[in-house]
Amino acid sequence: MITGNALAIIGAAIAALAGIGSGLGVGIAGQAASGVLAEDPKKFGRTLLMQALPGTQGIYGLLMAFLIFARVGFFQGAMDVSPEQGWIILASGIPVGLIGVWSGVGQGKAAAAGIMLMGKRPDQMAKGIIYAAMVETYAIFGLLISILILFNSGV
């Protein structure tokens, strides 16, 4: 029998899966960054900045997981979640977790293209950053829905 507590923790775990997207995204951007760096090692700082952009999905996942932990009293060891609440909390982890995976990869690709843009036209770097940041909007919407579900779950 799955208890409400277990469901809540599964929800937190799903939220943290957004890190998959960030991991892949930062990796994709990192490859592009190394390519650009081979041409001009002075661009390290700026490529690093662009590479960090797809990292936010993982942070949102972490954020959501911690919000769930705080809500259910995971650290205090006094969890008392009914099965119904448990299911709701599990549902709250899904948007940020799932959207994070794909938007992380997407942002990674946009960031990689932005890094290459910067390699050729350093003055256009800001626009590359904005293109990558456009992708993040959807991860933020996912987080928003997750938070709204959690905070209206009645726990």
Binding site: L53, F66, K127, A133, L144, I147, F151
Partner: protein, 654 residues
């Protein structure tokens, strides 16, 4: 911007150009287009001496090479930020009096540099040879031994994939008095020596061996065995390396020449620029003509110079068909934020420069997204120290000042939300001192009630968007499109306010939803009716429909401000995670040490990632949501003719 045209006598040309450069406030345009004018035919010709500019440029490059050589070999402390040294004009000129001496030094350094490169090239060559020799070290016959009276020697290698038995058989078939010996093998190659008796027929071993992938390795330049050669070359490398070290030491001793050479390089750059700019001028036998742009603020000072030099001049407003360059004119507070405007693209000369307005929103949103008093304090203090310590210029200075201002706003929001390095104070009290402290936020804690912050984020967003619409209305009315301002902007504002009251006004007053509904529906009807007003025929209907459909883009614009909540919460949570990790080590002194050590690393990381996020998303909100409503970009930057120096900033007063 004013356009200026100057006609003067040839005798004052050099002096005028110098003084304009020192002033650094006028952009000199290429006047060549005037020559196309029929009335001007035959009156004048293009000025400028291309060759002189090129030779000055080449000289400056040589000095630059010398400077770089010195920089690479002298033990210099590299500052965190490269800044130009401030220097009085008199001091600068005094250094340049020793110009011939400095030039000699430059040549001396360049000679050393050439020798250095030469030796390094030799070393590289030897290293290649050493690698080539390595597999043959076991082979103890002289490498240059190709034949004796009766025997031929062949050295070579085959790929490791080759069938050795087959190869051996083939060799034996060609000449049975053959010894084939494997000398060595590595991951890719097998190295062979083939010794065979001489035959009457002129047949080279190599020809049929090629089929087996055999490549001959003729050591033509070597005498003696591989081992001997190896020793000799190693010895030679050591000698060359010693010589390289000596040359480097010799260069390093010349470190004190560096400041003078840098001055010379800057002087040459300026001379070159003065020479180059002349090609923008027109000349007759005794006079010259010069034109360009200056901002209104410097007219007085330029006039003074022109009067001194006795030139004829004229200032006038730009014509309709001219596009003057753009120089952002900002308030003192907003000036650092012009870096953000420049990052996007300068506004059109006849468009609107929003820097003064969005600067406030930028700092406000940045603070809200970073939202931690501790991080804000660190950011502000660090930026202030950098500004005090380094004489920064240009974009770098603007950025650092901007972050300092944003840091102050962050402190404000941190206090409002009760974030001081997350919950560090509470955690410190409970783990180290065993007490419970509860720090109350001035406004509310977003972790407790994120929905409240979400609603406020959207409200801030609507204010931001309405400001952008206001600018759009202002521009439209100014250009005489009064009704466009009403139908494209004002009605939308009514619709949004109405929609908001309809959805959420119930909590303010019971009548609000009803009024909201009327405003919303009424506004939508007006939008439907007016959307196609500029179209003809069926376009009147489709224009209205697509106008109404525009509500979706408004919803996405407003929801985009949810990032204020997301990033604001992220800071608090990551900071709490860091504190949580620190508090796990234990209580008392042990806990204190763990909190400090983990805190320094953790909070540095957390701050870096959150400052980046706040910077990127605050910029995005300006670029996409705010600028999207009204911004006309495409302005050419104002590029004054100025001292484009690298190392020194010359103060003409001293």
């Amino acid at each position: 911007m004013k356009k200026f045209s100057i006609i003067g006598l040839d005798t004052v040309k050099e002096d005028l150009i110098s003084r304009l450069m020192d002033l650094g406030a006028a952009q000199i345009n290429d006047a060549g287009a005037l020559l196309q004018d029929e009335e001007m035919q035959g009156l004048g010709e293009r000025d400028g001496d291309e060759e002189k500019a090129v030779s000055l440029d080449a000289y400056a490059n040589r000095v630059n090479t010398a400077v770089e050589t010195l920089e690479a070999n002298c033990d210099l402390k590299k500052p965190l930020f490269a800044t130009r040294r401030e220097m009085g004009r008199r001091e600068f000129n005094k250094i340049l009096e020793r110009r011939t001496e400095i030039s000699k030094n430059v040549e001396y350094i360049l000679r050393l540099n050439t020798r250095l490169h030469d030796r390094q090239e030799q070393i590289n060559k030897i290293n290649v040879n050493l690698v080539m020799l390595r597999p043959w070290l076991e082979y103890d016959l002289p490498l240059d031994l190709k034949e004796t009276r009766c025997v031929d020697f062949d050295l070579g290698f085959v790929p490791i994939t080759v069938d050795m038995e087959g190869l051996r058989a083939a060799v034996m078939e060609a000449n049975e008095n053959t010894i084939m010996k494997e000398i060595n093998r590595d991951r890719e190659m097998i190295y062979l020596v083939i010794i065979s008796t001489k035959r009457d027929v002129e047949q080279n071993n190599i020809d049929y061996l090629k089929m087996w992938g055999y490549t001959p390795m003729p050591f033509t330049d070597f005498h003696g065995t591989a081992k001997e050669n190896d020793e000799r070359l190693n010895q030679q490398i050591k000698e060359y390396e010693k010589e390289v070290e000596e040359i480097r030491a010799e260069i390093a001793k010349c470190g004190d020449m560096l400041p003078d050479m840098r001055c010379l390089q800057d002087e040459l750059t300026m001379e070159r620029d003065r020479q180059k700019v002349k090609s923008h001028l027109l000349k007759t036998k005794r006079t010259f003509y010069l034109e360009g742009w200056i901002p209104e603020t410097v007219i007085e000072r330029v006039t003074k110079i022109l009067e001194d030099e006795g030139c004829y001049y004229e200032f006038r407003d730009p014509n309709e068909d001219e596009t003057p360059p753009v120089l952002l004119n900002t308030t003192k507070f907003a000036n650092p934020f012009s870096a953000i405007t420049e990052m996007y693209s300068l506004p059109d000369y006849r468009g609107f420069d929003p820097t003064n307005i969005f600067a406030w929103f930028y700092a406000f949103f940045f603070g809200l997204m970073l939202s931690d008093a501790g991080y804000g304090l660190v950011l502000a203090v660090a930026c202030f120290i950098i500004l005090k310590k380094y004489p920064l210029e240009g974009t770098m200075k603007k950025m650092i000042s901007m972050f300092a201002i944003c840091g102050v706003f962050t402190i404000f929001w941190g206090v409002m939300f009760g974030g001081y390095f997350g919950d560090l104070i509470e955690v410190w009290a409970s783990t180290v001192m065993g007490k419970t402290i509860d720090i109350q936020p001035v406004w509310f804690d977003p972790m407790e009630d994120p929905t409240k912050l979400l609603i406020w984020s959207l409200v801030f967003g609507v204010i931001h968007l309405f400001t952008a619409m206001g600018i759009d209305m202002y521009m439209k009315i100014k250009r005489g499109h009064f009704w466009d301002a009403i139908f494209d902007d004002l009605i939308w504002m009514i619709v949004i306010v109405g929609g908001a009251c309809w959805l959420a006004g119930g909590s303010i007053s019971p009548a609000a939803p009803k009024i909201g509904m009327i405003l919303f529906v009424g506004g939508m009807v007006v939008l439907l009716l007016t959307g196609g007003r500029h179209n003809k025929g069926i376009g009147k209907v489709t224009g209205g429909l697509s106008n109404v459909y525009g509500i979706t883009s408004w919803i996405s614009d407003i929801l985009s401000y949810a990032r204020l909540l997301a990033l604001g919460l992220a800071t608090g949570v990551i900071a709490s995670v860091v504190n949580l990790l620190g508090s796990m080590a234990g209580t008392g002194v042990k806990g204190a040490i763990a909190l400090i050590v983990i805190g320094i690393f953790g909070h540095t990381f957390s701050m870096a990632i959150n400052v980046l996020g706040a910077f990127v998303h605050s910029s995005r909100l300006q670029f996409v949501e705010f600028f999207g409503k009204f911004y006309e970009d495409g302005g050419e930057p104002f590029q004054p003719f100025t001292q484009d120096t690298k190392y020194v900033r010359i103060d003409n007063e001293r």
